[in-house]
């Protein structure tokens, strides 16, 4: 399995039947392909609907996801305006949001919306999603291109939100944010503790019940 599929498949195991889920662009979107058939989730698209599904049939120019790509709305879906869309998000009606990160740190801080002086795409809906969703799952490759750590003691880039991250899923492992700090709870198949340590700047504890990802 390739790196992105490992991350997406592991993320998909977090979803429970009936959950309303918002998936960010990139690896998070891939998680939809790995949801077990026994689990039915409702995907929310922050541009204004629930019942997001892959494009089925002809392209409808009025039906796009939050990345502007053509999609379809499943039977039973519902459309609303942007104010209601974010009332759903901030109001705690989304069980989990999955999104990528430029940096995440041992205090659960997340940075994923700008690199000062370089790339300033804007936060879009990310700040609201991270504050409002019941669970915040970061899904990303463990290290940046070139190998620099992304899981840090403290984020250096402008934050998307403070202390909101609940789970970090990478191609190497899974970290959970606990009261005591970051806890390593799973390793990807054939990955060692030493490899994770070498690839991670943040301080973390290793769970007494450390598992291998059930891919």
């Amino acid at each position: 399995m390739d790196v992105k599929s490992i991350i997406a498949k592991r993320v998909a195991l977090e979803f429970k039947d009936g959950d309303v889920i918002n998936l960010g662009i990139g690896i998070p979107t891939l998680a939809a392909d790995f949801i077990p058939p026994s689990v039915q989730v409702i995907l929310q698209s922050e541009n204004g609907f629930v019942g997001l599904m892959p494009l089925s049939g002809e392209i409808d120019p009025d039906t796009v996801n939050a990345g502007g790509k053509p999609v379809s709305i499943q039977p039973g879906g519902a459309v609303f305006d942007s104010a209601m869309s974010f009332a759903i998000i901030r109001g705690g009606h989304v069980a989990a949001t999955v999104l990528g990160a430029l940096e995440v740190d041992q205090e659960g801080n997340l940075a994923n919306w700008m690199v000062p002086g370089k790339v300033v795409p804007g936060m879009g809906g990310a700040m609201d999603l991270v504050v409002g969703a019941k669970r915040v799952i970061v899904a990303m490759e463990h290290n940046a291109k070139g190998g620099a750590p992304k899981i840090l003691k403290k984020c250096t880039l402008p934050l998307t939100a403070k202390n909101e991250v609940d789970l970090i899923v990478t191609n190497l492992c899974v970290f959970e944010m606990t009261q005591e700090g970051l806890m390593l709870i799973e390793l990807a198949p054939e990955v060692t503790l030493e490899e994770v340590k070498a690839a991670t700047e943040a301080d973390y504890a290793v769970s007494e019940t450390l598992k291998t990802m059930a891919l």
Binding site: N47, F49, G68, V79, S82, V119, M127, D128
Partner: protein, 222 residues
């Protein structure tokens, strides 16, 4: 008793509507990545050449689609948006200090517009607490939790895209082209709608109306 029914809204040409838009005005323009943007009005603004506009919108579209065309034509002095990543020209003008950009979290943007149209003094949101978004804003603690006071937004003119309008101005939107249109239709002095279909009064059932016609000033056939 008003047995004569409800007054009709004037159906106008694109040119008649564009007469309302002058240099230095504040515009709200509906749409999300150009889906739900009244493209013929954007094209009309480019052709007319009005400048120094402030635009409030979700994003700046693409260089050749949606609000992005106004950026490329250098007709804007400021944008208040949640995202500029799909239009490299916006970033270039920002870095060259040719265009002022206020980035607002998308949910906060929606609520500021809603507050503007709803007579509220602002909204309290947890979004942005602990980030650069809180700089210069009043913090309010409610039941032990920190919120930011975000102020309302209003505009001189709102440009709205609907699927169906009746001649009383009642609107129906289609799929994800709804997005910011209904809240912007409430928050501007003059509200101009481009509708793909215009029908007679009575053809839209009152229960199906998404934006009441009382907010609308002009309708253009899309």
């Amino acid at each position: 008793m008003c047995e004569g029914g409800i007054n009709m809204i004037t159906i106008v040409t694109k040119e008649q509507a564009l007469e309302k838009i002058k240099n230095n005005m504040i515009l709200m323009i509906g749409g999300f990545l150009a889906v739900g943007t009244p493209e013929i009005l954007v094209d009309g603004l480019v052709a007319k050449g009005v400048h120094d506009l402030t635009v409030i919108a979700n994003d700046t579209g693409f260089p050749d689609r949606g609000i992005g065309k106004l950026v490329v034509a250098k007709q804007l002095k400021k944008v208040i948006v949640s995202h500029i990543g799909t239009n490299p020209e916006t970033g270039r003008q920002m870095n060259a200090h040719e265009l002022a950009i206020e980035l607002v979290p998308q949910g906060t943007l929606a609520e500021r517009i809603r507050a503007g149209g709803s007579g509220l003094g602002g909204v309290l949101t947890p979004t942005g607490v602990g980030t650069v978004i809180e700089d210069g804003k009043q913090k309010v603690i409610v039941d032990g939790r920190e919120f930011l006071l975000e102020k309302p937004l209003k505009a001189d003119v709102a440009l709205i895209k609907a699927d169906i309008a009746d001649k009383a101005g009642n609107l129906i939107y289609r799929r994800s082209s709804r997005n910011f249109n209904p809240i912007m239709a409430m928050a501007a002095e003059i509200v101009i709608v481009v509708a793909d279909k215009i029908v007679e009064i009575g053809e839209i059932d009152p229960d199906q109306v998404m934006t009441p016609g009382i907010f609308i000033d002009m309708i253009i056939q899309g």
